[in-house]
């Protein structure tokens, strides 16, 4: 049975500065009063399946710094990106605290693998020498002996981050990782004042499955490094987790919309609000690539034709 995704409906508050009625959009934790610009942090009544944030990783890049990073990133893209992208306009720049689960577990793995142990042998072979005589010579060859290995492996997996937001998917979050978790702070509404903060909108079980598959992947990589021998292959592992823990963390990301054509959808660019890493890539223009390939082929053909005529 899966728990339903948490949903935080829109609600109305009255601004404590000017008294106006302000609508807090659904799945948001913050709002700015449209009349007096007072930034509000709104903590909704507790709800099953929607935990409170435990940690915040605060923004260290402000809007100008983030914008200039994105602008120079766009300029540095290759020549094959779609036309107009490099002249595009950045719209709707938002600094968002993205809800995500910081996951950890004790991992147990039973593994089997083929381990390659190298050895050298001296081989005799016959060949013909410079005078055409048949001679016998020797050389050393490296061979690999494959041995079976089975074992058990246990470790703690820490620092696995998965998105809890429907808005920004896990792949998009991964593209701006890593975050420096040494800068974690306890949750405090102060750090959110004036910023957009989302409430988790994905069900905790779904996030847990994503976290487990991310942890399986990292254990797979570590197991490959853990194997002895000169080489290894066929590493199979049955990984289980126990003592799982998860805590809600708000991560700082800057979200940009790049508008570049009348009838094109704007492209979303996400950057890490802590270290400025830009995620994602710009779409390529197949027309430009095709044109370049065609042009090079034609140029080559022309050279051949000219060379043929000259000789």
């Amino acid at each position: 049975m899966t728990a339903p995704a948490p949903h935080s409906p829109a609600l109305e508050i009255s601004c404590t500065t000017c008294g106006a009625l302000v609508v807090v959009e659904e799945d948001l934790r913050t709002v700015e009063c449209p009349y007096c610009a007072s930034p509000h942090v709104v903590e909704r009544p507790p709800q099953a399946g929607r935990p409170d944030p435990v940690f915040v990783l605060a923004f260290t890049l402000d809007r100008e710094a983030a914008t200039s990073i994105v602008n120079s990133w766009i300029k540095s893209r290759g020549p094959f990106v779609k036309s107009g992208l490099k002249e595009g306009v950045l719209e709707r720049t938002r600094g968002v605290y993205l809800p995500s689960y910081l996951y950890g577990a004790r991992a147990h793995a039973n593994y089997t693998a083929k381990i390659g142990e190298d050895y050298t042998v001296t081989v005799t072979y016959t060949t013909t020498d410079s005078k055409g005589r048949t001679v016998t010579r020797t050389r050393t060859e490296t061979r690999t002996e494959w041995r079976d290995l089975a074992g058990r492996y246990e470790c703690y997996v820490t620092d696995t981050l998965v998105t809890a937001s429907k808005g920004i998917g896990n792949a998009e979050l991964e593209s701006v990782e890593p975050f420096d978790l040494r800068a974690l702070r306890r949750y405090s509404p102060d750090l959110l004042a004036g910023w957009i903060a989302e409430e988790p909108s994905l069900a905790a079980d779904e996030c847990r499955r994503t976290a487990q598959s991310e942890m399986r992947e990292s254990i797979g990589q570590d197991l490959a490094a853990f194997m002895p021998g000169d080489s290894s292959s066929n590493i199979r592992a049955n990984v289980t987790f126990s003592e799982e823990v998860s805590h809600l963390v708000l991560l700082p990301v800057w979200v940009f919309a790049l508008r570049y054509g009348e009838d094109e959808d704007p492209i979303r660019i996400v950057i890490n609000g802590q270290n400025g890493q830009v995620g994602g890539r710009l779409p390529l223009s197949w027309a430009k690539i095709g044109g370049t390939v065609l042009f090079s082929l034609l140029a080559l053909a022309a050279i051949f034709v000219i060379a043929g005529l000259l000789s």
Binding site: A58, T60, E117, E154, Y156, R186, A193, V245
Partner: protein, 321 residues
Amino acid sequence: MSEVTCNRCESPLEAGDLRCAVCGDVPEQLVPQVVGTGLEQTVLRCGQCGAATRYDARSESVRCSFCSGELKPEELTDPVEQTEAYLPFTVDRDGARSALRSWLGNLGFFRPSDLKSAARIEDLRPLWWAGWVFDAHARVSWTADSNAGAGSSDWAPHSGQTDMVFDDVLISASRGLSDEEAYALSASYSLGSALPELEAPPADATLEAFDVQRSQARERITHGIRRAAASRLQEGHIPGSRFRNIHVRALLTGLDTRRMSFPTWVMAYRYEHKLFRVVISGQDAQVLMGKAPISWAKILMIVAGVIITGLALGLLAVLFA
């Protein structure tokens, strides 16, 4: 010491830790408790002028745009490591000098014959070097190649899992000593003699500080634990007598780390215009590590002797054949 321990791995947490450094769990005290059941609505206000303020990314603080008052949020804690205890010297200057002399006299045949009499001690200085001492239980998962069960290759793979207890294992944080020097000295100290403060250290003494932050320290400690486990595995856990590619993963419980400073005499002696360095434990003059010159003349003599004997034997064999 504050005795808050991690629920999951029982490691003591340190002041300012938000998460357990060993297993990543969060102590229960930190998880915010649901206080109210209703709607909480906060506008952050400047303490001086009452204006609504916001968090500023550039200064990493909350800043009032009207009166430029500033409100620092909770500081991040990643302090530089500090020594908690010093071990006293039990070997004095003269003891260190005579230990060096007797070591120089007992280095064996291939050293210069006048080494003991001609070596001049140029520098002799007390140093307290910094290191971590840890206790932990570890479930060690390992793999390695060894000669046991080898087929065509010299090596066969092995794997296993074993529980280990580490008591008072020392990991160097020293810049002044090499890892080998620190390792050689580490067994000579009696940790029970540690004092929280030094009373009047000698004027020429160097008190080494930890120059790493807590977060880096933990990486070095994890690395040190793997190394300690790997060396213990070679004493009976891995089958065979020759080993390579030892891989260790340790699942730690109850990791307790202390920061200490260890006394050592650092000496330099000169022999024929060259300086050689020696370190002597400040608590056991027998534990000493250093470099000494080799007598090339003696080595040449031996080599020449061997060659001449060989030639002579060959000649005799030819004559009698």
